[in-house]
């Protein structure tokens, strides 16, 4: 408590971080400085003295790059959080980095000649394409915060999934892209600093020019409009500046997580409220946060210095965010676009029956029709030799998809955040971490051990979240923030594994991409049983979910027990997510796609939407699994990835048309 009370001014964390960074940097530099070497030789090194060369060309530019990249990310995060009015918004939300990553991977694989001299421009082009996609998607709604956020999230997920497909099939050749994406700050010359400096200066000046409009954009739309602001035009400008900042930094140092989220949050909680002050302190804190983290990485024993700084920021930032979450004032959170725009189904029950029939048909087709060594074949029933191999996968795909979609629908209703997907709960990160740890420590883990390890990880996270949710101030969106913090930890582990080039990586990649490959019959049945149990829970929770989106006060007044309902709903989501993740990997997209498709199809009331979400999510995964197993036989595309890559644009088109 004393710590929190002490932070009254943003200068407090800034000075603390600066002291830490300075101390560590001094230690690291002096450690390299040979006896009797003049300090000036750092600036003008003697080319025959390796120590001087190292200081001048690796340590010094690294500090400068860390300062600049951190400042840029902090600034970009602050701008985005203002215009999107969402404290969860950060540069990664926009999909800019993911777009750059995807195009780099494509170019690396298909025209590597371009990369020799055009890596920066390739990444820029990818970032630009991602931004254009977001703008195209949200233009119709005047770039409203909700639409931009949602489009950004979808573009980000989509690019991520497309990159994952490329990675899964080509990871032998994408090492350099992994390493770039992991967020290393190491430098071998002054090129990176020279690249960043002029671009960041121009963009920072633009941000200063946008100060007044940014203040107004932080208000709600009607007040901003009444003050005579052309909302769309300024939002576009601010968005482009933030995107350009992100792209510039991503291009030169890769994907640095967390700084863009944590720096503005830290600045705001420690008292920087006015726009100008907030931007300035966000940039300052971002710069110092990244530099301090980077110096910590440099102080590690040699073996661990290869940890990517971009991922370590997440590791160190997570506890910081934990401390600050309660003090973080949520800006008006984006609400699910609902109401009059969307039509309601006249006979929703009949529509549900049609959906169920489609699923039965799909399951039947998935076990009967398939590509094989002799081409396509059709065989009905259990006399088929391949029946035993197909049904567990089909059933697991359906159940996994349905469980995640149900969890997604519940989460989105209870938090009122359309970005809420089961993945951000942190439970799937917990499961991932459990499996990763097992894979790295045990010699040849069996499937059963893998499931146990995943379950242990998932339930550890669940216990943590339940414990936290008892404390005052941890509600809805804030618990999601914890999930984000945890998922960045698992992201860190993956980045380290990739950088270490472990041959066991390919197995992990396949599982992480949502594959039903290893599912055993009893697991598929268990998943179906879990789904059935969860669906049976829908009637009792229906009323809560009808009232919770209307706001805290309305729900309280209508007699919804807030703490109890929150705990129960979170536990339900967490159990569903854990089950699905452990069995078929984190198929995050169906958690978004199911609920949104159900809503767009006209299932409005909570109970019906939940059931429809589950059925739609399950059907999508079922179809994706079948296509994935057959389309490029004998190769297989994991269901989760395929659903994202094929279903993503479909969902985008639907959202675009309806909004």
């Amino acid at each position: 408590m004393t710590l929190e009370k002490g932070i009254r001014h943003p200068a407090v964390p800034a000075v603390l971080l600066a002291m830490l960074a300075l101390m560590l940097a001094a230690r690291n530099i002096v450690g390299l400085l040979p006896d009797g070497m003049a300090f000036g030789s750092i600036l003008f090194p003697d080319h025959s003295v390796t120590a001087e060369m190292l200081l001048h060309y690796t340590i010094l530019p690294r500090v400068v790059v860390a300062l600049m990249a951190g400042a840029g990310l902090g600034l970009a995060g602050a701008i985005l959080q203002r215009i999107l009015r969402n404290p969860l918004a950060e540069p990664a939300t926009l999909g800019i980095s993911a777009g750059a990553h995807l195009l780099l991977a494509i170019v690396t694989l298909f025209c590597p000649a371009i990369l020799a001299n055009g890596r920066e421009w390739t990444a820029f082009a990818g970032a630009l394409l991602a931004l254009l996609a977001i703008l195209a998607l949200s233009w119709g709604k005047g770039l409203s915060p909700v639409t931009v956020t949602l489009s950004g999230l979808i573009v980000s997920l989509y690019c991520g999934a497309a990159s994952a497909v490329l990675t899964l099939f080509n990871h032998d050749f994408l090492v350099s892209i992994f390493l770039w994406g992991a967020g290393y700050l190491d430098q071998q010359d002054w090129g990176g600093a020279g690249f960043l400096a002029p671009r960041l200066v121009v963009l920072a000046i633009l941000a200063v020019l946008l100060l007044r409009p940014l203040t107004l954009l932080g208000l709600d739309d009607s007040s901003a409009r009444s003050l005579g602001l052309s909302l769309a035009a300024y939002r576009l400008l601010a968005l482009v500046v933030a995107a350009a900042l992100t792209a510039t930094i991503t291009v030169s140092v890769g994907i640095i997580s967390f700084v863009g989220l944590a720096a503005p949050a830290l600045a705001r909680t420690s008292g920087a409220r006015r726009t100008g002050a907030h931007l300035a302190w966000s940039a300052t804190i971002g710069a110092l946060l990244l530099t301090a983290t980077d110096q910590i990485v440099l102080s590690l024993p040699v073996t661990y210095r290869l940890f990517p700084t971009g991922a370590v920021t997440a590791l160190l930032g997570a506890p910081l965010l934990f401390l600050l979450i309660r003090r973080l004032k949520m800006l008006a959170p984006p609400r699910t676009a609902g109401g009059p725009v969307l039509g309601r189904l006249r006979y929703p029950q009949a529509a549900l029956v049609v959906l169920a029939a489609l699923i039965v048909l799909g399951l039947w087709a998935a076990v009967s029709i398939g590509n094989g060594s002799q081409g396509w074949s059709f065989s009905f029933g259990t006399d088929n030799l391949l029946f035993d191999w197909r049904w567990p996968r089909a059933l697991a795909a359906f159940s996994g998809g349905a469980m995640l979609a149900l969890a997604g629908a519940v989460l989105q209703r209870m938090t009122g955040n359309p970005m809420a997907s089961p993945e951000v709960l942190g439970v799937s990160s917990g499961a991932m971490l459990g499996v990763i740890v097992l894979l790295l420590t045990a010699n040849a883990p069996t499937r059963g051990e893998q499931i146990l390890a995943g379950a242990a990880g998932a339930f550890a996270v669940l216990a943590l979240m339940l414990a936290l949710s008892r404390k005052p101030g941890f509600s809805g969106d804030r618990l999601l923030l914890i999930g984000i913090a945890l998922s960045s930890v698992s992201g860190f582990v993956m980045a380290v594994l990739m950088a270490a080039q472990d041959p066991r990586l390919s197995q992990l990649l396949a599982w992480l991409s949502g594959s039903t490959y290893g599912v055993r019959p009893e697991e598929a049945l268990l998943a179906t049983a879990m789904l059935a149990a969860a669906l049976a829970c829908v009637p009792p929770i229906r009323r809560w979910l009808e009232l919770l989106p209307l706001g805290h006060e309305v729900a309280m007044a209508s007699g919804v027990p807030m703490t109890l309902s929150r705990n129960l709903l979170f536990s339900l989501c967490a159990l569903l997510t854990a089950g699905a993740t452990i069995l078929v990997g984190p198929l995050s997209f169906s958690g978004l796609m199911g609920p949104h498709l159900a809503r767009l199809a006209g299932f409005q009331r909570a109970g019906l939407q939940l059931v429809a979400s589950a059925l739609v999510g399950g059907l999508v995964l079922l179809v994706a699994d079948w296509i994935g197993r057959n389309v490029i036989f004998p190769f297989q595309i994991p269901a989760g990835l395929l659903a994202t890559v094929v279903g993503g644009p479909l969902l985008l088109a639907l959202i675009g048309r309806r909004s």
């Binding site: 025959s48 190292l54 690796t58 290869l306 191999w389 297989q636």
Partner: protein, 291 residues
């Protein structure tokens, strides 16, 4: 000359066995990862299928798989329905698919082949033992004898070529990107081969259980007297950029171009990979300029 004779002999041997494999009583095998494929082929046994064959030909290169071997799909997820329809007698797999062993048992008995033991003993001895066990399981004892004899012969030839090597310590590394390399040290397959040649490894730092470590290129500055052997020639452009960074280009071994480049070799997989490495490395390092 010697090398060509050997490859000719090996392929004649290989085709002889393949005819045999088509016969009715030969054991029908399937390799579920590359080391298994390499070692089966080294015994002259042609598996019915290998995962990611095209990439195998590009990255593992030898022993070459004949054209009639089936593609099984990704190494991480070889196609189960295809495995069922190929009706193999035995599935040879590595640690990476160990979690699938139980399910694979429904298709055919599985054999866990692991030439890369994680302990710190000699990798060549481990690889030889694993291959011997595999040969015993598949009744290919004579093929094992023939292979190890040719392996020792090749190693001797390589040592011969390196007799007048100047004795500089050697970094063995693969270029990852323009700032980083994967360097092979203690506990690596390449180290075991270097030990046979009596060449000192310049990298004495940390290595993973596979004997490699990803390092920043500036760590090469620790041993400016060394020589660099780059494994894998797919990223020559990147290598040139990597070596042109100020710190690195100021090192004496880069200035004097004490750098050799050899084609792709798998850094795990036991004797077949070791054989390829010893031949390529000795040809590159035994050339006139390094004496």
């Amino acid at each position: 000359m010697h090398r060509r004779t050997f490859i000719g002999g090996a392929s004649a041997f290989l085709f002889a066995r393949q005819g045999n494999a088509a016969g009715s009583n030969a054991i029908k095998t399937i390799a579920l990862n590359w080391p298994s494929a390499q070692n089966l082929l080294a015994l002259g046994i042609v598996p019915l299928g290998i995962p990611e064959i095209e990439r195998y030909a590009r990255l593992a290169v030898e022993p070459q798989a004949p054209a009639n071997v089936r593609e099984l799909g990704l190494r991480a997820e070889p196609n189960l329905e295809l495995l069922v329809s190929l009706r193999p007698d035995i599935l040879v797999l590595g640690d990476d698919l160990a979690s699938m062993r139980e399910r694979l048992g429904a298709i055919a008995p599985s054999y866990l082949f692991n030439p890369d033991q994680a302990d710190h003993s000699d990798r060549l001895a481990n690889g030889r033992q694993a291959l011997a066990d595999l040969a015993t399981r598949l009744n290919a004892g004579s093929a094992f004898q023939a292979f190890t004899a040719s392996f020792e012969r090749e190693l001797d030839d390589a040592r011969q070529r390196l007799q007048r090597y100047d004795g500089r310590p050697l970094f063995v590394a693969t270029v990852l990107d323009d700032r980083r390399m994967l360097v092979f040290g203690r506990n690596s397959l390449f180290q075991s081969v270097l030990d046979r040649f009596g060449i000192e490894n310049a990298w004495t730092g940390f290595t993973s259980r596979y004997g490699h470590a990803a390092i920043n290129v500036d760590r090469l500055a620790d041993r400016p007297d060394a020589r660099l052997l780059c494994v894998g020639n797919e990223r020559v452009v990147t290598m040139d950029r990597l070596l042109s960074a100020p710190v690195i280009s100021s090192l004496s071994f880069v200035k004097n171009r004490r750098i050799a480049l050899i084609p792709e070799v798998l850094f795990y997989g036991g004797l077949p990979s070791a054989r390829r490495f010893s031949r390529l490395a000795s040809l590159a390092l035994g050339s006139e300029e390094y004496r």
